[in-house]
Symmetry: C2
Subunit: 100 residues, 2 copies
DNA sequence: AGGTATGATACGGTTTAATGTATCAGACAT
DNA sequence: ATGTCTGATACATTAAACCGTATCATACCT
């Protein structure tokens, strides 16, 4: 297995679970199969570039190429901005707000 | 051919030529073969994720996953910072300054 | 207990990436 | 004209992605 893609794949998986999307749901949205996604996420299979793009785009993520020296800066920007993008779930959809 | 990887691949090629690196030189550095690189760049072959990573890392580029909404901001940051990394060629090696 | 959703895994089959080597045409020198 | 560097391309072979489907264990919920 190529170990340099592990970070990206782990990031994609984290984004998927953070979004509350199941592998099957992602499969439908991305055009890949659930088994395919499982194997990619568990590192049993190395995805093609386009498969990975399909997978991440379905999670509203983009794969961008950035000069190595700028990576820390970009990472910082993403971290700070990402915080305000999804502030907090505030309510769950099936909240137990049973009283009137 | 998957058309969504074309932009990334075109970017990689532009970075390679901008760095003055030949396909053969990149092949040596990245571990891929020159024919492989040529086929990727010309769109005749879709690279694996790890192949593409190998290729771009040899060009001092990193593949980063960024939320779609932040892409413009990241792109702007990269553009502005990249400008000062390679200030300007100032002279071309074979300048055609033929008149006096 | 029964229903449902999850992720991991297996198997068979097709497609395609990837390697290695070798060649070719074009540019650009000497 | 010869040599050299470039990128594109051909070919055969091996390895692996990818699909489809189906199953399994787990967990959670009624």
């Amino acid at each position: 297995m190529s170990y340099q893609s592990e970070r990206l794949i782990a990031q994609a998986r984290a984004a998927r679970t953070a979004a509350g999307v199941s592998q099957r749901a992602l499969a439908e949205r991305s055009g890949l199969t659930q088994s395919h996604i499982s194997q990619i996420e568990t590192g049993r299979m190395e995805p093609g570039l386009s498969s990975f793009i399909d997978m991440t785009r379905a999670l509203d993520l983009e794969l961008v190429l950035v000069p190595k020296k700028l990576v820390p800066g970009v990472a910082g920007l993403v971290r700070s901005q990402a915080a305000e993008a999804v502030p907090r779930p505030a309510y769950s959809l099936d909240d137990g707000d049973d009283d009137a």
